[in-house]
């Protein structure tokens, strides 16, 4: 028997070599980090939110630090799906990276078209549906706050692709369980949770909001308790796997997410502070599994009653 713990994870049909992914919007297209880590060692790279047309994004200031966290209002700045497919996907394929494409539409039809384009490109392992971006006027969050809309988007995307579909759920709802159940019923293969919590900050010298977009999404360790609670609740009512994240800064945080039911995890804001954090977390998880003489699959959901 090898001493190496088995870290392979099946995320709704997508096989990951290990449970560590990087959250959309925190890792560009992967190449931004190539000087720091071997991105092929990641379970998957979830690319920056991609739209049909290029988007310039929101006016600055776009970020501001808060207590143990940060607010961002990037506004889905991206060069559009065509540029992703022509300029960035080949790079990721060449590096042998497992790619999860995060897509965001203004309408249900746009999600479907984006999914079709991803389906027809080789090198994409799954689709994450961005139905929870708090920083854009149209699309994003409006799709993620109504169970009916979530189902419409998931069904429309399912018609266009056989790739695993992973809706990214918003915590900015009164009942995340209801949304999760709706997504599963519509045919989602896994759930990604949570996106950022909507918040704001005020500049007391200028006496106005700090962010150009007024509101932004709160991320970082400040939101970890909220993410854990929501995953704990959703794990009890869905059968599809959960890709969990929200403020994971080290391997101990990661273990907490597995214990409340996450099958895989997404590292986000921590990449900004420690560009090599993913490999440190992976090593920490291995060490924990060896020390506790347990396996990853045994950990998942163990703290849920």
């Amino acid at each position: 028997m090898s001493n190496e713990p088995d870290l392979q994870v099946n995320l709704g049909g997508l096989l990951l070599d290990n449970p560590i992914t990087v959250a959309s919007g925190t890792f560009g297209y992967g190449r931004e980090y190539e000087d720091y880590i071997d991105i092929a060692q990641l379970g998957a790279v979830i690319i920056t939110g991609t739209t049909l047309e290029p988007r310039a994004g929101n006016p600055p200031p776009r970020i501001t630090e808060t207590a143990s966290g940060m607010l961002n209002a990037i506004g889905l700045e991206n060069p559009g799906v065509k540029v992703f497919l022509s300029d960035h996907l080949p790079y990721l394929k060449n590096k042998n990276v497992t790619v999860i494409a995060n897509i965001a539409g203004n309408t249900v039809e746009e999600y479907a078209r984006l999914a079709a384009l991803m389906e027809n490109s080789t090198g994409i392992g799954a689709i994450e549906l961005n139905i929870s971006c708090p920083n854009v006027e149209k699309g994003g969050l409006q799709f993620g706050t109504s169970p009916k809309m979530v189902q419409d988007v998931v069904k429309a995307v399912r018609n266009e692709t056989s790739l695993p579909i992973i809706p990214k759920l918003s915590p900015n709802v009164s009942d995340i369980v209801e949304i999760a159940v709706a997504a599963e019923e519509a045919g989602a293969h896994a759930l990604s949770m949570i996106n950022t919590l909507m918040g704001m900050a005020i500049d007391i010298d200028l006496q106005k909001p700090v962010l150009g977009n007024v509101f932004g999404g709160l991320s970082g360790p400040a939101i970890k308790p909220v993410a854990l609670r929501m995953i704990y609740q959703v794990y009890q009512v869905v059968d599809i796997p959960i890709l969990g994240g929200g403020g994971i800064m080290n391997y101990k945080d990661a273990i907490e997410f597995f214990l409340v039911g996450a099958r895989a995890i997404a590292i986000g804001t921590a990449n900004f502070v420690h560009p090599m954090i993913t490999q440190e977390i992976l090593a920490g998880i291995k060490g924990y599994l060896l020390e506790k003489e347990t396996s990853l699959s045994e950990l998942v959901g163990k703290a849920v009653k």
Binding site: Y33, I63, F272
Partner: protein, 258 residues
């Protein structure tokens, strides 16, 4: 090759209230440091504050293999930096960003406002090495904030202005520029400091058909072009944004409305 590591602090001392010089040993970074670049420093190993702080390369000593930073205390992160002591280790990433363009045998003027003088000092050092005639104009609050000895050791001419008149010209550095610098003698201008000041320097350059470069400051998260948090439009007519961390922090006067 940029990286992330912990570096030994040799010195962290105030020049004045809220203005500090921090020197650290960095044999692996020193050969790669270009003027205009910055390092990304983690002020705390706890989670609050969470993010790194981008700080310009202020001076690089190739013989001692050290990098020196000049920083102003403006918030929680820089306040924590003042607690660092000699022999401590600090988590530093970089050097990051683009750099000033250097051309040999030129007559150049550098205009720095406040702590914005920082990147111009290492720039002055490198320009002197390629036989430029360098004049550094430095605007500060008072004489404690001046860095005369360091600049003169480099071999550059140092013209300070202080707001309180405690040393040198009394008043704004841009007034000193207008009164004492003959634009006909200048081949190129570099500037860094408050945007209002840089805007006046750029106007002066444009009026006199002199090219130049400036360095911008922004709050940053990743520092490597991934988070898209530190963007700005260079011209009001632009639809797209540039990233200060990766496309900058140095930009040509011609490319920006300021």
């Amino acid at each position: 090759m940029p990286g992330v590591d912990k570096y030994l602090i040799l010195k962290n001392q105030p020049l004045d209230k809220d203005l500090y010089e921090m020197e650290f040993l960095a044999p692996n970074l020193v050969p790669t440091c270009e003027p205009g670049q910055f390092i990304h420093l983690l002020p705390s190993s706890t989670l609050d504050p969470l993010l790194r702080r981008p700080i310009s390369l202020y001076d690089v000593d190739r013989k001692k293999e050290t990098i020196t930073l000049l920083y102003k205390v403006v918030g929680k992160g820089t306040m924590l930096m003042t607690n660092v002591e000699s022999n401590d280790y600090v988590d530093i990433m970089g050097p990051l960003g683009n750099n000033f363009t250097l051309k040999a045998d030129q007559n150049v003027v550098l205009v720095g406002g406040g702590v914005g003088v920082a990147p111009l000092v290492y720039l002055a050092r490198r320009l002197k090495e390629i036989d430029c005639k360098v004049t550094l104009l430095h605007g500060a609050e008072n004489q404690n904030q001046l860095i005369k000895a360091r600049v003169e050791q480099i071999g550059a001419s140092y013209k300070p202005a202080t707001m309180d008149g405690s040393y040198g010209y009394e008043g704004f550095i841009t007034d000193l520029l207008l009164e004492e610098i003959d634009p006909r003698d200048i081949d190129f201008i570099y500037t860094c400091g408050p945007e209002l000041m840089m805007s006046e320097v750029v106007s002066f350059a444009n009026r006199n058909n002199i090219s130049g470069q400036l360095s911008l400051e922004e709050h940053m998260a990743c520092g490597i072009g991934a988070c898209l948090g530190c963007v700005r439009r260079l011209r009001s007519s632009d639809t797209n944004y540039v990233k200060v961390c990766k496309d900058g922090p140095v930009f040509n006067f011609n490319d920006i409305d300021i």
